[in-house]
């Protein structure tokens, strides 16, 4: 007989499953303005606590509080709200289009609109994002044409990707938006490499990598932070923690202690944790991290705490694995409504103007959709040619592909 009791196996589980009543009263949420803002050249050792708290700016009453409150003009703020509204309305239309059979698949941003929309404001022309599938806000915030996004989603004849990729896998070098891959976390070391190249070239551009909470478990996440800690390139390493990786709660990727941001500590990388539903806080933290990168101070790891209010994709049904009411009970609220409340309190917005803006945006999206659908959808109209799929495998088509293209009848 062993002197020890039998070993037991630990499988983390979320506190709540369908049928349970969401209760986040035990979750400690720091009040807005409570967290200090260090200098950008701070010794990472001095800010280890910032990986365990949540940087917040907007109060419940719609005030911007504390050292992190950014200096944004009225127009900047209004534009930020419009970007989020546009993204949300775009999502709603495209979800419907998918349900109508106009495309095969869609992924929405519901509840996470603030993160990419606000982050992009901290970047400059020439900087490069390496996004996941849930950062279309980076494009929307730059005024990228909605019609072109729709052409991509519909895989029609004007899809910039020539119908070769799943819907929403956008690419735009011109907009600092690296081609999205469906393989998870591969873009993270690529972002680090791009930033290394900028530093090697004595350039001034910076990169931003994006990953979700679930994909931080990928080896490539660790590869990226190893290389980032070694060469200290100008890169912002973003983790969007929306609590759910399809049906898997974040505790499976992270375990039951610590935070995702704290993963930076072992690598000597400054790590911040921020309220991802607070447009002002996201922008302020992004600006801080971008400033570090531009001043050659190296990488920053940022965890955005948010909640995926919708399904993972159109192929997902969250009611099978989490309480339906969980999103409503989420203590960090709705990023769009919070920004709206802030702007009203700031005295530059009103319910009437909001309703009017919603209508304008709905019109804008509808007309973009009409134009895109006139070209074609996945199920109708003109699509990319079959002959075209043989192009771009290599810059110059090798003999075996020419032969296969002929065999295919093109």
């Amino acid at each position: 007989m062993s002197e020890y009791p039998p070993l037991t196996f630990n499988v983390p589980a979320p506190e709540l499953r369908p049928g349970d009543t969401p209760d986040f009263s035990g979750v400690e949420i720091p009040r807005a303005g409570a967290v200090r803002r260090p200098r950008v050249d701070v010794d990472p050792k001095e800010i280890r606590d910032l990986a365990f708290t949540i940087i917040r700016v907007m109060s419940r009453d719609g005030e911007a509080l504390g050292e992190w409150a950014p200096e944004l003009t009225d127009e900047d703020c209004l534009e930020g709200l419009r970007h989020m509204m546009r993204l949300r309305a775009f999502d709603a239309r495209m979800l419907m289009a998918q349900r109508q059979g106009k495309t095969s698949f869609y992924m929405q941003h519901l509840g996470e609109e603030a993160i990419a929309c606000a982050f992009q404001r901290a970047l400059q022309k020439g900087d490069m994002n390496f996004p996941t599938y849930r950062q279309a806000g980076l494009l929307i915030a730059q005024g990228y044409p909605l019609r072109t996004m729709m052409c991509q989603i519909y895989s029609n004849a004007e899809d910039p990707n020539h119908g070769r990729q799943l819907p929403i896998m956008y690419s735009s070098k011109e907009h600092g938006f690296f081609s999205i891959s469906g393989n998870l976390a591969t873009q993270y070391p690529q972002a680090v490499g791009w930033a290394m190249a900028s530093a090697i070239s004595n350039d001034s551009k910076i990169a931003a990598g994006w990953v979700g909470d679930g994909s931080t478990a990928e080896s490539d996440f660790h590869a990226a932070i190893v290389f980032a800690s070694t060469y200290k390139p100008p890169v912002i390493l973003n983790i969007v923690n929306n609590q759910w990786a399809i049906s898997t709660f974040q505790g499976i990727a992270k375990g039951e202690s610590g935070t995702f941001a704290a993963r930076g500590h072992g690598f000597g990388i400054p790590a911040l944790r921020v309220d991802g539903n607070d447009y002002l806080a996201v922008y302020a933290v992004a600006k801080w991290a971008a400033e570090r990168a531009r001043r050659n101070l190296g990488p920053t790891l940022v965890e955005y705490v948010t909640y995926r209010a919708g399904g993972h994709s159109t192929s997902d049904d969250p009611s099978a694995y989490r309480p339906k009411e969980e999103g409503d009970a989420w203590p960090l609220g709705d990023p769009l409504l919070r920004m709206k409340g802030y702007l009203i309190r700031r005295g530059i917005w009103s319910e009437e103007r909001h309703t009017q803006a919603e209508a304008e945006i709905a019109d804008e999206i509808l007309s973009a959709q009409k134009e895109a659908e006139e070209i074609g959808t996945l199920s109708s109209g003109s699509g990319p040619s079959a002959r075209d799929m043989f192009e771009d495998v290599f810059e110059e088509m090798p003999p075996h592909l020419i032969k296969q293209r002929q065999e295919a009848g093109y």
């Binding site: 070769r164 891959s181 490499g193 990226a224 290599f394 003999p399």
Partner: protein, 337 residues
């Protein structure tokens, strides 16, 4: 012209490419200060500084992943994987990312990247330092796979690979680094300085990717080989006296099918030789192509001589390694058919 080993030729390819194009960046495990465990990057850090030739963490996925980012930025990274046996952690980055990037975004981003790796056995490297994984790359659309067999080709093909607009897997048969090894391990090593292909121009030059080379003209049978097996085939031909034509593929993908078809149409017989395991090996693809293109010229079944479908053994290395005797038996068999 200078006498160079394959190692020196590869070093010279790096050197001349880095000298003419400051976008060329070289890194990998032990590649910087030390110059690589096989010395293929010796002296580059000293000459070009640590921002253009540097040591990388032991993380192959990170090496390739960062190199893809650099290539997308506009640099021309040429990275080393210390042994091809170590490349598998980077397979996702190679297959899903480097190989697909140009296609998936219709050329918005591209990936001019060279991934060098020593391959093959004959050095008592056991199963983790001896593999020939070319087929796991030739099966992937969007990457080129190159394997030189001598110093002159190694330099010219590596320079071309670095210049290429698409990702290239550059496989270096490590048993050939110091001399043209023919499989007779009991004999002393023949150094490259005694071989005509050890004559290498010191200046920059390229050789076209996708072009095979006929190493020996012959009428009786075509031997398709690459890497170390070119010399094993030469030994087998010398020992059997069979008038074989030996084709050194040099580039596996894109394949120079014309040279193969021309030769087999002439000889009517074909033996394919590679070190890699047989099942689903590149020889299977070659045999199919020869069958498709040359069926009415064939006078005997196409035969393969390959490594066995076992992990590469340590003590039994010479029972595994395709020997001149095995190639010779195959040649006799197809001649008798």
């Amino acid at each position: 012209m200078a006498k160079m080993t394959m190692i020196e030729a590869i070093q010279s390819a790096h050197d001349t490419a880095m000298d003419r194009d400051e976008k060329v960046v070289v890194y990998g495990e032990d590649v910087g200060f030390f110059g690589g465990v096989f010395r293929c990057t010796a002296g580059l850090q000293e000459k070009y500084g640590p921002t253009r030739c540097f040591d990388a963490p032991i993380n192959e996925s990170g090496i390739i992943g960062t190199a893809i980012g650099m290539a997308a930025y506009g640099l021309r990274p040429c990275v080393e994987i210390q042994f091809s046996d170590y490349v598998y952690p980077a397979y996702d980055q190679i297959v899903s990312e480097a190989a697909r990037l140009r296609h998936r975004c219709a050329g918005d981003f591209t990936c001019p990247l060279v991934i060098r790796m020593p391959v093959g056995g004959g050095i008592f490297g056991g199963q983790t330092h001896s593999q020939s994984p070319e087929a796991v790359f030739t099966h992937v659309c969007g990457i080129k796979t190159v394997m030189p067999s001598n110093p002159y080709d190694a330099k010219g093909l590596l320079a071309a690979a670095i210049n290429d607009p698409d990702p290239v897997i550059f496989m270096e048969p490590k048993r050939l680094y110091n001399g043209p090894f023919d499989g007779h391990h009991e004999n002393p090593v023949v150094p490259w300085r005694d071989h005509e292909l050890g004559e290498v121009p010191e200046d920059y030059y390229t050789l076209p990717l996708g072009k095979a080379e006929v190493r020996r003209s012959g009428e009786a049978v075509t031997v398709i080989a690459y890497g170390t097996m070119v010399y094993v085939a030469e030994a087998a031909v010398a020992e059997t006296g069979i008038d074989a034509e030996i084709i050194d593929l040099r580039t596996l993908l894109p394949l120079d099918l014309d040279t193969i078809v021309e030769s087999v149409s002439k000889t009517g017989r074909c033996v394919i030789v590679h070190e890699a395991t047989r099942t689903s090996g590149y020889g299977g693809e070659l045999a199919t192509l020869v069958q498709e293109e040359c069926f009415y010229h064939l006078e005997a079944p196409i035969t393969r001589v390959t490594g066995w479908d076992t992990p590469y053994p340590h003590a039994q290395e010479w029972d595994y390694f395709p020997s001149p005797e095995r190639v010779g038996r195959a040649l006799k068999k197809v001649m008798e058919a």
